[in-house]
Subunit: 354 residues, 4 copies
Amino acid sequence: MRDTYGVRKRKVAVLGATGTVGQRFISLLANHPWFEVVALTGSDRSVGKRYGEVAHWLLPADMPDSISDMTVEPTDGRLDADICFSALPTEVAADHETDLAKTGHHVFTNASPHRMDADVPLILAEVNPGHANALEQQRRQRGWKGSIVANGNCTAIHLALALAPLHRDFGIERAVVSTMQALSGASYPGVSSLDALDNVVPYIGGEEEKVVAETNKFLGGWDGTAFAPAGIPMSVHCNRVMVRDGHTETVSLTLRGAPGIDDVKRSFRSFRGRPQELKLPSAPDRPIVVREENDRPQPILDRDTEKGMASTVGRIREDPVLGTKFVVLGHNTIRGAAGASVLNAELLVAEGCV
Amino acid sequence: MRDTYGVRKRKVAVLGATGTVGQRFISLLANHPWFEVVALTGSDRSVGKRYGEVAHWLLPADMPDSISDMTVEPTDGRLDADICFSALPTEVAADHETDLAKTGHHVFTNASPHRMDADVPLILAEVNPGHANALEQQRRQRGWKGSIVANGNCTAIHLALALAPLHRDFGIERAVVSTMQALSGASYPGVSSLDALDNVVPYIGGEEEKVVAETNKFLGGWDGTAFAPAGIPMSVHCNRVMVRDGHTETVSLTLRGAPGIDDVKRSFRSFRGRPQELKLPSAPDRPIVVREENDRPQPILDRDTEKGMASTVGRIREDPVLGTKFVVLGHNTIRGAAGASVLNAELLVAEGCV
Amino acid sequence: MRDTYGVRKRKVAVLGATGTVGQRFISLLANHPWFEVVALTGSDRSVGKRYGEVAHWLLPADMPDSISDMTVEPTDGRLDADICFSALPTEVAADHETDLAKTGHHVFTNASPHRMDADVPLILAEVNPGHANALEQQRRQRGWKGSIVANGNCTAIHLALALAPLHRDFGIERAVVSTMQALSGASYPGVSSLDALDNVVPYIGGEEEKVVAETNKFLGGWDGTAFAPAGIPMSVHCNRVMVRDGHTETVSLTLRGAPGIDDVKRSFRSFRGRPQELKLPSAPDRPIVVREENDRPQPILDRDTEKGMASTVGRIREDPVLGTKFVVLGHNTIRGAAGASVLNAELLVAEGCV
Amino acid sequence: MRDTYGVRKRKVAVLGATGTVGQRFISLLANHPWFEVVALTGSDRSVGKRYGEVAHWLLPADMPDSISDMTVEPTDGRLDADICFSALPTEVAADHETDLAKTGHHVFTNASPHRMDADVPLILAEVNPGHANALEQQRRQRGWKGSIVANGNCTAIHLALALAPLHRDFGIERAVVSTMQALSGASYPGVSSLDALDNVVPYIGGEEEKVVAETNKFLGGWDGTAFAPAGIPMSVHCNRVMVRDGHTETVSLTLRGAPGIDDVKRSFRSFRGRPQELKLPSAPDRPIVVREENDRPQPILDRDTEKGMASTVGRIREDPVLGTKFVVLGHNTIRGAAGASVLNAELLVAEGCV
């Protein structure tokens, strides 16, 4: 099969296809010009059954018909797909992804186990596309024909996207962040309604550490042999609130040179990266959208901006303690998960890396 | 009428009795040993009608029968009550409260207009009971027989209560705070359900400034002629979330001498004040309750601690940027509003100031 | 301006454009092939201001740019628009709509005052397109050049759409209905979050009577001089629940001849009307969608079916008391309000009635 | 240990003590004058651990200290407790409860398996206390020293309580019911927040059948050898809504003799039963509370009426199809579950049956 530009479509698989992130992958890949979903994998409970029968579909648009009739396969090295998008649960992701890379598959993973590996690039397409150069070393040292490319935690992705222009234009000295995270970030069934209703849970296991480590990896460099994290001291408070989709983060930070609010806004607004240059199919026109209203961004109004692929920033103002503060919001299962992996795959295909 | 201790009960009025805070006042005063509700005031729309007919009662326990049949009166200087608890709307509070103080009433107000006045004590009973000494100057300079005592904004109260022992034991150098505030804080009808459902609103008009100013007034001193604010640099992000009652605040701060986590916990746990010494009727046994579970405090589980009169603190841990961090939660219409005023009145009655 | 079919676009106005239904009209008309929005009206508070400045936009997609810069006009007979879509508040709708019809405008109203008028057709495009014939008498008797066409209450529309095929194929003898209605049905700010959170309100003023009367008018006839209501005895319980969009209704009813469940399903599935024959721009392919899963329809999954223009029916089963029962769900501000009016206008334009 | 009346307290166990209903049992029994909790049972995962460590406590008041340190035991016949309150999961309840009755325990169960057994009384203390006479036959035929007494499904209990006076005073010919049920009815973790938020689920597996069968058993008789169900034709639609506690039910029904609305209200209001005559510790003063406001009952306002032990009825009015309609609401885990079992135990202790 060829797309409208005459390019042969790449065969892709979605690993762990029944969960909330797996469903987002399916939805984003449904009419993708470069990728064709040829395989869906699931746990033993689902293998051999129709996808439509085992998936508890949670997205408002109906499941694509072509997907609903596919038979769920086990996740193993015999998958007849060139590119694998992984939404595997943490506890099984590490091994499966390694096996697939060994057998020549290019794995774009949303799972956490490999994110901080010394030879796995953690890529946010506008921010650190150059980390893809680590793949050469990954393949050589591991003896793989395939590869593993990770994207980050949903909270880290939107934080790093918002911080990237500021770090590039001014330099970030320190940051204090407090989050209000959506329920879909805990997958399905995830958070019990009895914990969510009329409540805030001020804790998400392991999340705060991940956000700090991954954001620093995103904003750091690849020196040809190793990743050099940005080393920005960060404090993160993670909270779960009763919102379906869209993580909101309040950010207070110190920028070098104490730039004015207008400089900060300009930095956000002018930010573009390789996905925009290459006009990748899933690239947002504006990776960061700045709102001027004093009560924005809000999940219900801003999470779907740029089809959920942008971070929306608002309330940019002076911070009496650290210098600058703002609020950033983004869709946690689109740009914060499945959409980020798809964009990473588009980038690496366009750059000829996979 | 005398209470069980043979003390004659003081006659009290609730000003602005129909709103969410007015209802809390009524509920807290229903069987109060020292106070007897003899008057309820409301807007022109309500005056002359039965309270039960005009109040949209929102508390789970039924409205006390004795209250339901009272006739709503206008708010003016002829009120036959010694003590007035004010839940008046901001736009009318300033004038009414001044008139009442002039005519000999002791006004304990939850409204904001007088909070930062140079001669109005803003009292948090465990934290700065000595500010009551300002009343002498207030009466002398204004020529009042009565008085005005303010309590703070709901977010400031719980923040100041949590910061007080730390400021006393160590000294606070700076703090960054992010809040998740309950809907009842906006009174009734307040926040539209269309703004609240599946959403976070990262803005509450005027709130951030109030929290900073009031917290510094609470933690500061009265030098005999003027209030000296604590002068702690603070940055506050205020957010509204879909919770009925209970404000949650994440706090990152720098303490002098960099005390250890155990020292901080000890400071919270050992904190007591005049209300506990005097065993005031509404005083919580523990003004600050420390939880060790990693996912506490939560609104549904902790807002009613000590009948809603305590702040609950949890997740006390090191902060990589500022030194120490924790989460504090408290009931916004009990300790954060009506309950704080009632406790202030008890304190000043017990100390013979009113 | 001409559309792609070479037809000159009709100039339309949205009356009461700032509310939740007004916003839906704007969103549905944004790129309409036959209609061009040339005027927006609002209350005195908004007149003369930019729409973008006065509307509290609540839809997830951004307000169309072309709309945001329009100046809000007063609602009066000088509006330079051929067709007017009315989302006016009940208390002002009656007079404004009459004035506009007098001055030659064709008013398609979502407001309730004229719905039960003896000469105003209450049209549900698939169900009773023939009621449009009443316009001739309306114009003649009232001396109008313009006209008023009403659509129904949001709950009545989805009920009538679901009942229409059953009434045509079998005849309905009686029905008992209980609803769970969305918050957007009460417009903005509408229901207070304090009444909505963790709650059900088992009452919506005037709603139960409207649903019975309007459903019977929809399902009845026009005999050339008068409307003959269907006369089906109905009992309706109306409840408000914490859902943004999408009314859910449980229906128990008695059908003549006691048809089997499969007959009932076939009746729903085969239902089509004039909008489908004429392939009107806003017509759903399937006005009624039948789901077989035992836990459907659900608001989050089914309200956007057919772009919000269909009713989704599920749980069709035997009723031990009345014979047959099912659940019907539909989007209350699209098919239940603005979308129904737009479809009515398309129908009457296509049929040459306006 | 003896209570204040000099009666020796009965030793009781709570079976399945960690779930939402188990927690309610603990909370209701904490300071019970007749019962002393001496044992808590749980699944293999919990056995041998401190209750405070394994229970995810969800009630606003803190877990009683005396309970928190108890060690969870397995559910078996060696339990040293005279009376067992069962909140066991359906799949294990049947066998465990039979074993306990065999070994001399009196089991008051909230689980469903034995409810419809031919020799197990399903008791609603005000409605059918005489069904306790079936215990004699139960013990004789089964050779048990102990016994099993069931209470009903949470929806059936409040429906039957509301219908009981009407059936006694007039006779019920048929009823159509639609429910809006709370999340706590599905225990913990129960309903996923992703299914609950902004949604209605119009299906609860097996619930509709249970409500019909159990309500008819409650309202029927015991003829000395068998239960004779009331035989009222009923249609029930069950729906799950985003409410923590409190089931709301709309009821349309036909009463013999077509009594007027005032007669119906009088019937509700005058209803009393054995628990009120015997002044049992958990008996509500008024088993049915009638509200006259047109927007009541509501979960947040009425679920805690009479400490959660009453049903609240409102909107009593004529039904155009069936004759009479109203709304009934009650707390699903207090009167609808744990509280009903405790009241049953009190009744049978007071009557000398156990």
